[in-house]
């Protein structure tokens, strides 16, 4: 035993993902029962088993509760502007293709204000992993309606209930060109961890949606109980259907949740396409772009 | 050499802008003069009236636009009607003989006309009529040195067409020389 390790109080259970976290920033801002922390745990475990060189992993978030994830991970981390994590990540990845770039943000950030960037990043098939935490609501600003809020659910700006059709995110991602699409919930920690790891190791635009409880705003306003009740709901109402047609994955208020891996295909990435195209165009005068 | 303002008018697709570019490039790069070119940008489609404006001077050019051009080259009837009133008193008007009918021609102007379309056709490419006009302009105005113009033509036209364009330029230039000596 070294002197240093002698100082550790062995009676305290150690958090195995601590080495991935900026512990000096704890406690985090998330509410008790919030699912975001659970997904960060999954992400850390996925990183651990991925074999990736952590020095080369960058994480980019937008703004919102999930937007705070970047700040808690001991990686090169970028907490950008609302909705714009994807174009920032696009610039980062294309500037240095050796980096593994992960975008970790919420449903409002990535698909409302950032929706245009989402469809174009997927279309270009820029090599990056997008982890989207869907809590059906804008949490940071106080529970407003989102493009993911199920019909009938109430929100602070939909006090009588939402009547707008929400996004079916796996379908959106696949339609736009994502090469890996999966959905899990904060209850499915092992599946989610595996999905994140697969996504991290996938070349191209990989997308993992994780449904997570927001007990403070979504659950309370909709009388769905606390975080634990929501986890129980996920457990009882999720159905694993790998390879399901993404068209069928729309979510209804407290309805059945189809989870699984839906898309896993190979397609040249943005840089693959660019390099192949220019190599053909310019011949030997072109040196493949490596950043 | 004092500040000289040149305007080239025609319709889109005739090489109006390229002509202006060649004059400016010849003056600024190959003739130790200063030159500023402004393009009249607009949402116009091809075929409508367009123009290029070039200022050539021995001194640095402050004001980049032309106000009363001393030299005008027109390659379409519409450009003649629209632009020729702008010409300075006693200015030089250069027209394409078949494309422009110079009715109501101002008496104060020095007018030179050339069948550039016919010459271009004789060379096998109607496209080069603007370059024929450039050769002619070089001869009758002397605004830019002929060698500088030849250089500028050579490096400004599409690759592989240098020879054709230089022939076109020379054709126009020679016609101008003959005209000046009263032989044309």
């Amino acid at each position: 035993m070294t002197e240093e390790s002698m100082d550790i109080d062995m009676s305290m259970p150690t958090n195995t993902v601590e080495e991935f976290l900026r512990m000096e920033r704890m406690p985090h801002i998330w509410c008790p029962g919030c699912g975001i922390g659970t997904t960060v745990n999954c992400f850390a475990h996925a990183l651990e088993t991925s074999g990736l060189d952590l020095k080369k992993v960058s994480i980019v978030s937008g703004i919102g509760c999930t937007g705070r994830v970047a700040g808690y991970l001991k990686l090169d981390s970028f907490h950008t502007t609302h909705g714009r994590a994807l174009p920032f990540a696009t610039g980062l990845k294309l500037a240095n293709p050796d980096l593994k770039v992960v975008v970790y943000s919420g449903d409002g950030d990535l698909t409302a204000i950032g929706g245009n960037h989402f469809i174009h990043a997927a279309r270009r098939n820029v090599d990056m992993t997008v982890i989207l935490i869907n809590n059906f609501i804008y949490g940071m600003t106080g529970g407003q309606v989102a493009p993911t809020t199920p019909i009938g659910a109430t929100a602070s700006t939909a006090p009588y209930g939402n009547f707008e059709e929400p996004f079916n995110l796996p379908y959106l991602a696949e339609s736009c060109g994502a090469v890996y699409v999966a959905r899990w919930t904060a209850y499915h920690v092992r599946h989610a961890t595996k999905a994140i790891k697969d996504a991290l190791l996938k070349r191209g635009f990989s997308f993992v949606e994780i449904l997570a409880p927001c007990p403070t705003l979504y659950s309370r306003r909709n009388r769905l109980g606390d975080g634990l009740d929501q986890m129980k709901f996920y457990k009882d109402n999720s159905e694993i259907k790998n390879g399901a047609d993404t068209k069928t994955l729309g979510l209804s208020f407290q309805g059945k949740i189809i989870v699984g891996k839906f898309v896993d295909k190979d397609k040249p990435t943005y840089l693959d396409s660019m390099n192949a195209f220019y190599a053909q165009k310019f011949g030997d005068t072109y040196s493949p772009y490596k950043g | 050499m004092a500040r000289t303002e040149i305007k080239i008018g025609g319709f889109g697709g005739q090489g109006v802008i390229l002509s202006g570019y060649i004059i400016g490039r010849a003056a600024a790069i190959y003739d130790s003069k200063h030159a500023t070119m402004i393009q009249a940008f607009g949402p116009e489609a091809r075929g409508s009236a367009c123009s290029a404006q070039i200022v050539v001077s021995a001194e640095p050019i402050a004001y980049p636009y032309i106000t009363t051009p001393q030299i005008m080259i027109v390659m379409s009837q519409e450009a003649y009607t629209k632009f020729s009133p702008e010409l300075a008193e006693g200015g030089i008007l250069i027209t394409e003989e078949e494309l422009v009918k110079t009715h109501n021609l101002r008496k104060d102007l020095k007018h030179f006309s050339i069948p550039a379309t016919r010459f271009a056709e004789e060379l096998g490419r109607k496209m080069v009529l603007n370059i024929v006009m450039m050769g002619f302009m070089t001869s009758v105005t002397g605004i830019v040195g002929v060698e500088a113009m030849r250089q500028a033509v050579k490096v400004s036209v599409p690759k592989g067409t240098e020879h054709l364009n230089l022939n076109a330029f020379n054709k126009g230039f020679e016609y101008g020389e003959k005209l000046k000596s009263g032989a044309a």
């Binding site: 900026r22 920033r25 020095k55 080369k56 960058s58 980019v60 703004i63 970047a70 700040g71 001991k74 990686l75 090169d76 981390s77 970028f78 907490h79 950008t80 502007t81 714009r84 994807l86 174009p87 920032f88 990540a89 696009t90 610039g91 980062l92 990845k93 294309l94 500037a95 240095n96 050796d98 980096l99 245009n116 960037h117 174009h120 220019y278 165009k281 310019f282 072109y286 040196s287 772009y289 950043g291 | 570019y21 400016g24 490039r25 600024a28 790069i29 200063h34 030159a35 500023t36 070119m37 402004i38 393009q39 940008f41 607009g42 949402p43 050019i61 402050a62 004001y63 980049p64 636009y65």
Partner: protein, 389 residues
């Protein structure tokens, strides 16, 4: 350090201000450009798109100006020198990310080829109505640098300077072109690479342990690192401490934001550049910038022929504004005349510095064209008359 010869094709060219800007960026070492098409700036990205594949650059046409203005910042943290290019409507969309670059001290270059506004305005015609937006367009307080070329040659030169200043001060730098200069074709000399001075990124070369990404040196500028170098940096748009960690207090705000402003304000003697001509002993001084600085010359010359002592002060840096110099001149000059293609923007800065000591006259033009030099001349002469009374 000298420019990378790979991108520099030395020679004399007859090109427009937009193309010259692209060449300036390449000479400065810019190898990442993100943009969205908009008149009259599009020629810049068109040239970049043509030139980049064979010199190892990355050009990407993004889905909008918002995306473009943050993709470049991702690229900077990935290790590139980066630029985006736009005009009025796109410039408005980029405002949030000018603030982001200021807040995260991301060195990058924004080019705005100004056209007539507001809104869609006059896409193909000149304006200078974005000057105050350049200074104050993003919310909150921050320091910024903005340069004003008046010719294609300066478009080349000042784009290089913009990149150099961005690196020197870890700040976004704005190149405020206008449609007239952008679309004006003139001789542009691209010097050989070994004659072009480049400011390299100020990368940290000290020990990794204890490195602080936002701890500034005596010049108030912190050193840079890039993603992938093993520093586990955190960069946030929130108010942050020297580690880069969010701190939501007035004290943290005071420390950070004051420094963001001071690093420009207190270095302004080194940053400010203006050109003066016959300002010593002048009765009337024209203060101008961009294309208007050329339009004023015939007016100045004519007034001088009439016996009026006219000086000319041309802003190369609009921001920071040469406040000290205007203040000095205001003690000797009887009138400042400020022509600009807007209804009075930079003239407010002149008025602020003059502080009532002497007259300040504006010559406004709403855009769509440059001034008629006669209007500037008339204003000079009216000042002179006032003086003779």
């Amino acid at each position: 350090m000298k420019a990378d010869p790979k991108g520099v094709v030395a020679g004399a060219y007859f090109i427009d201000g937009d193309h010259a800007c692209a060449e300036g960026a390449i000479a400065a070492g810019c190898r990442f450009v993100a943009g969205y098409p908009i008149t009259p700036s599009t020629e810049i990205v068109e040239r970049i798109a043509e030139r980049f594949p064979l010199i190892g650059g990355m050009f990407i046409q993004m889905e909008d100006e918002i995306a473009s203005s943050i993709a470049i910042q991702g690229a900077v943290w990935g290790g590139k020198k980066a630029m985006t290019v736009t005009s009025g409507p796109g410039f408005s969309l980029m405002m949030e990310h000018i603030g982001l670059a200021a807040m995260t001290e991301t060195p990058c270059v924004f080019v705005d080829v100004q056209r007539g506004g507001p809104s869609t305005g006059l896409p193909t015609l000149p304006g200078q109505g974005d000057m105050m937006q350049a200074r104050w367009g993003s919310h909150g307080d921050y320091g910024i640098i903005a340069l004003c070329p008046n010719s294609p040659q300066e478009s080349f030169d000042l784009t290089i300077k913009a990149f150099n200043l961005a690196e020197q001060y870890r700040v976004p730098v704005l190149v405020m072109l206008d449609e007239c200069v952008g679309h004006m074709t003139e001789r542009v000399v691209v010097p050989p690479a070994d004659e072009i001075e480049i400011t390299p990124r100020r990368y940290w070369d000290g020990p990794k342990e204890g490195f602080l990404l936002f701890k500034a040196g005596p010049d108030r500028v912190p050193p840079m690192v890039k993603a992938g170098d093993g520093y586990n940096i955190h960069v946030t748009s929130l108010t942050h401490d020297e580690r880069g960690y969010p701190v939501m207090t007035a004290a943290a705000q005071e420390k950070l934001v004051r420094r963001l402003i001071d690093k420009i304000r207190l270095n302004s003697d080194a940053i400010v550049e203006c050109r003066e001509e016959q300002t010593a002993g002048a009765d009337v001084v024209i203060v101008s910038y961009g294309i208007t600085s050329r339009i004023a010359i015939p007016a100045i010359e004519q007034a001088r022929r009439e016996g009026v002592k006219v000086g000319h002060l041309r802003l190369i840096t609009a921001w920071p504004f040469p406040a000290k110099r205007i203040r000095e001149l205001s003690h000797h000059v009887s009138c400042f005349v400020v022509p600009e293609i807007n209804y009075g923007q930079m003239v407010r800065e002149v008025e602020r510095c003059v502080a009532g000591r002497t007259r300040v006259e504006r010559v406004s033009h709403g855009g769509g064209a440059v001034h008629n030099p006669k209007d500037i001349y008339a204003k000079i002469m009216s000042c002179g008359k006032e003086e003779r009374k």
